[in-house]
Amino acid sequence: MALTKTNIVDQVQERIGYSRKRSSDLVENLIEIIKDTIGKGEDVLVSGFGKFCVKEKGARKGRNPATGNDMMLDQRKVVTFKCSSVLRDRINEDN
């Protein structure tokens, strides 16, 4: 079973005791802050979890696989995630 926003809202409601609406608004607000920060090109570092980094990829030559034509792919930005050692150890605990 995948963890979704609904489960996180459940947790906030249960553990802090806010109403459903308030819990949901706060979780949405937090997600928006994270997206906004990364969207501006700034990294988000969460101790104990990991860091979300914005990486710039240079332009490169590519090929359209359907037509075989050469094309130039523009430089772009991607989001990468580096897992913290705490999270990594917890995931590997049972080994």
Binding site: R15, I16, L45
Partner: protein, 91 residues
């Protein structure tokens, strides 16, 4: 931006106390950690998804000394950027 700044930004935007904001942030990342520890997937629409990928053992090399080292099997969270976030980062 680090966790503390995340907390103070949420505190200001949502008009809640620092302790409450800290709790929301903690629950958010704890829920994801717990799910991944159980081996479950995480899917936050628009932000990102994670699943635990299992890596087999392999022989690696210490890049400094060139010595062969056996890397034991491991699990790592595999991150996939959400569509909306992807578009916002690379407009």
């Amino acid at each position: 931006m680090n966790k503390l700044e995340l907390i103070s930004t949420l505190k200001n935007e949502a008009n809640i106390s620092k302790a409450e904001a800290a709790e929301v942030v903690q629950i958010f990342f704890d829920s994801m950690t717990d799910a991944l520890t159980r081996g479950d997937r995480v899917e936050i629409r628009g932000l990102c998804s994670f699943y635990v990928k299992e890596y087999k053992s392999y022989t690696g090399r210490n890049p400094k000394t060139g010595d062969k080292v056996l890397i034991s099997p491991k699990k790592l969270p595999f991150f996939k950027c959400g569509k909306e976030l992807k578009e916002r980062v690379d407009y």
